[in-house]
Subunit: 372 residues, 2 copies
Amino acid sequence: MNAFETRRNRLYDWMAMEGVTLAMFEDFEGRRDPSLRWLTGQPGDALLFLSLNKQSLLVPWDSNMAALYAQADMVIPYAEFDRQPIKALQVAAEIFKIPFGSKVEIPGVTPYPVFLQYVEALNDFDVLCRNSGIQEAAQQLRAIKDEEEIRIYRKAADITNNLITLLENDLRSGKLKTETDVALFIETEGRRQGSDGTGFETLAAGPVRSFGIHAYPPYTGGPFATPGMSILDFGLKYSGYTTDVTLTFVRGALSSHQEKMLALTEKAYKLALSMIEDGVSARKVALSVDALFEKAKKAMPHGLGHGIGLEAHEAPALRSRHDNTWQLKPGMIFTLEPGLYDPLMGGCRLENDILLSDAGAEVLTKARIIRL
Amino acid sequence: MNAFETRRNRLYDWMAMEGVTLAMFEDFEGRRDPSLRWLTGQPGDALLFLSLNKQSLLVPWDSNMAALYAQADMVIPYAEFDRQPIKALQVAAEIFKIPFGSKVEIPGVTPYPVFLQYVEALNDFDVLCRNSGIQEAAQQLRAIKDEEEIRIYRKAADITNNLITLLENDLRSGKLKTETDVALFIETEGRRQGSDGTGFETLAAGPVRSFGIHAYPPYTGGPFATPGMSILDFGLKYSGYTTDVTLTFVRGALSSHQEKMLALTEKAYKLALSMIEDGVSARKVALSVDALFEKAKKAMPHGLGHGIGLEAHEAPALRSRHDNTWQLKPGMIFTLEPGLYDPLMGGCRLENDILLSDAGAEVLTKARIIRL
């Protein structure tokens, strides 16, 4: 049995438990769901139907791509349904002989007006559209990496760490001068070292732009790692999985306020890391960091961290929002990324990728605050 | 009055006509809406509230960024609402003194389970969530570019065309050898020529990978523009607006089947272009191209084209799906991109950016099928 079948089987079990007879996954522009890739290998742009009798139907936009990459019991090109998901769902219900009145689950992200269309078109079925549906179940399964995924992450982290060393050298020597130099070095050298490329658009913000949480534009021809604080946020993909690290490069003497920002950020990072253990509430960790900053009359304008995987932002969430119920568990790989930003002083952030294993927290990547 | 105010005023008029008292725009990961940037200048990650009494409230994730880029009557950081859109909407209703029972419009893409939360939290109001709501009205307005936007597009097209010339030379001479060479050349040279960077991830697929509509991975270390058909799909941003072109590079002798694919693609492109005029149904143009391919026993597995703007895929849609009601109008800028793909022979696509003006169709970009 291959990995895709194993994963689908876990969802068939979930369907049996929940009494869901037919379930649909959707991965198209505007409503991306990497679970579809995780369940079939299809890189994207497809629908997937799972039936309680353990059969899968993939409906790809690009059937040439599916022939090369995807694994499912049946494949029917999207064009045959006039590129309409509702038609595809109706045919899937026929193919799998889903009895009238059965529970049919569509993605929980389905817009309300579209949900109404499904309900009308499938009035012989009980159409479910829930936050806690099968798509969330898949997300929860994906949050715990299997052995192969952890092996992939060790390799992705190695490549990322090699890049960090090279970046430090080339920034110290002045070989890399601008934000664009740095971003394109990562594109080129990351691939040369065996990664698939970057996992998201690199954010390189020199001292005059590092006040932005996510610099806009992501990188420019402006100077990087000149006197002050520069932020570099990047990730490299390997076998589809991306790392996500942030370094702060410091050059020259800083003001005492800037030094305080750096010290607090490092302190927050260490505090968070010290709290990572099996069963800890992700919200509790985030709240502790918020409290640390608040005591120093500072505030972090973003979450503390997030799971990583086929996309840069995945489950679990490590943030202090009241509705965050995630508990950290062995097999999870996630970031810790405290940061502070000041419109005049610039910003700093420190982000590493952490694997929680039975032995505790393991820091896979080697991002840090680097003084040049 | 600045451009943002002018644009918001057009939506206030729409609200008066529709009896909508408060409207919300949302631009966050997973639910992107560039209308927010078009209405305020904020690059992303924010909420925007418009009230019928012509007041706007921006709720940015990054308030440093908002201070630099955004224009709105009021700005309150997202963190003050515990990063919860529903809380922000409730406060906006208070600030703007929205009378109970009024129509309050949330984005039409709001997931059904989230819609239920809005309805519960805002039970004093009539919560609207429609396909044809204010977000679609904004899309329709954005589909018609104003003079400044057209000026921007002429500049973006110039840079794109310069790149096309350079790419042709460097591929012919063999200076650029791999997919990665080509993609990184576009990143570097596009910026050097004054663009903000690429508008989306470049797709560079050499002969062995050009069968994919959207190659995966987008580019690799493999050969590009070697014997056979290679596809290059890229766009360059200028002042936030992106072009979107696709070239097919041909080297060596092709099979008669490959030559037929190329000839049909060019014929389809010319047919579509000849039909572009004020008031033409976009679906009719797409159906004509489908019919041309069908007569030759071929099928194009994707739509004929799409509007471009702050994102690569915007309104209007040029596709043959039954629900496509778009009519082409002066001021629209959109792509035409017929293509054919064969798992054994490879693929070809030709895509240019077209401005429809009162004088007719003007092809802004110079992509073509290039024989090396």
